[in-house]
Point group: C2
Chain length 237, copies 2
């Protein structure tokens, strides 16, 4: 029945530590090291707290840190980050596929469960829903072995009028935005065509599933797409 605290098997990282590693992984995707203020922003904590934790993470060999110049994951740190990312995304996928959650409600739940679920549970969940390759928002799920392959994609905001693209992935950090995008039919896999663009950061007219939609450039920048190479109508006789 009631029993002693059960430690999760493995390298034993705390929830907060896993969160820091995820944040640093995320920030490092741009190529630049993760800066203190940026980490603090993502985790909604004070920069001073980050300085303290960054020192501890460096002591544990999870990151390297050059004072005043940001943090980078070590191999061990990256492995841990990808493991947590896998947990998060498998959980999100499972909640939508198996338990009827809508895509705007899975993030918070996954954010808590990812620190408590065992590897076995994650693997069973993944198996139960057919080993998906991406989460409900289109983000790739790292493999059990810790590899992750990002598919090439550009922000929808970078397309010119006339271009078509397939929605690859949407930013999942705002439930309201996700709900709105779902209303518009802008979900991973959907095909969109830029009908027109207004200058000076003006609205973007889209065709999504034969419906006309207009969105702002800020929203468009949160949508990653893979341009569809135009299939020319048979190149002449």
């Amino acid at each position: 029945m009631t029993a002693a605290r059960v430690p999760k098997p493995g390298p034993e990282l705390t929830g907060p530590v896993e969160d820091y590693l995820k944040a640093i992984y995320e920030l490092e995707r741009s190529g630049k090291p993760a800066e203190t203020n940026a980490i603090a922003g993502l985790l909604a904590i004070a920069p001073a707290s980050v300085s303290g934790m960054v020192r501890r993470l460096a002591d544990q060999g999870l990151i390297t840190h050059e004072r005043y110049h940001g943090a980078r994951l070590t191999t061990a740190g990256r492995r841990a980050a990808l493991k947590t990312l896998r947990r998060h995304r498998v959980i999100e996928s499972y909640l939508t596929s198996a338990l009827g959650y809508s895509w705007d409600r899975v993030h918070d739940e996954a954010e808590r469960l990812e620190h408590a679920a065992s590897d076995e549970l994650i693997d069973r969940m993944a198996a139960a829903i057919g080993e998906p390759e991406t989460d409900p928002h289109g983000a790739p799920i790292p493999t059990r072995e810790g590899t992750l392959q990002e598919r090439p994609a550009v922000p929808l905001s970078s397309l010119d009028a006339g271009e078509s693209a397939r929605v690859e992935r949407v930013n999942d950090d705002n439930p309201d935005r996700l709900r709105y995008l779902a209303e518009l039919g802008i979900v991973p896999g959907a095909e969109v065509k830029v009908e027109a663009r207004e200058p000076f950061e003006g609205p973007i007219a889209l065709n999504v599933d034969d419906a006309s939609r207009t969105i702002g450039p800020e929203l468009a920048s949160q949508i990653l797409v893979a341009p569809i190479s135009i299939k020319r109508p048979k190149p002449g006789r």
Copy 2:
């Protein structure tokens, strides 16, 4: 993607606090208040630590505590304990019914997840497996409303030779024991008949599903059963 710590909605109890409340609930089932050492034993922590936490729980109005004489849950504390117990047992049930876990492996996983899962998740899990009334070990699952009904049961060790009973529930705190019981076919719902008993705490001979089994009294005391009222062969002429 990565985001700030997401608090679980509600009265906001920490994991350790939920564990204390569960332990006190468990110990109080005997009718006597939960003693410091007993709580410490269940949670595998030092008695001194329990003294400290007990004071805090009393301050929060979750328990009443008379110094040197044990703790009792208040109404608020009992509500919280039952909520956690519901989480735990729904998770155990879901893991076995939906994800193929064996009954000896669900406890530890549930022990961690119960502190992270939202009420909504618990309710969805329960719905997905048909709102079970008991967990895989036969323990009753508290309702969403916080009521729990224990079915009357006695330890198998209290039966006399010749008596038959249905297995109601088994103690789940030892995976090896659970595995062994499963081998013997002693699972909730199984019917057992005491064929013979040896004196002086000797072995108990059982018939389970037409197979003969012999177990010790210690093990028998961990198995709760509901005696089957003997159906007399037609009382008539």
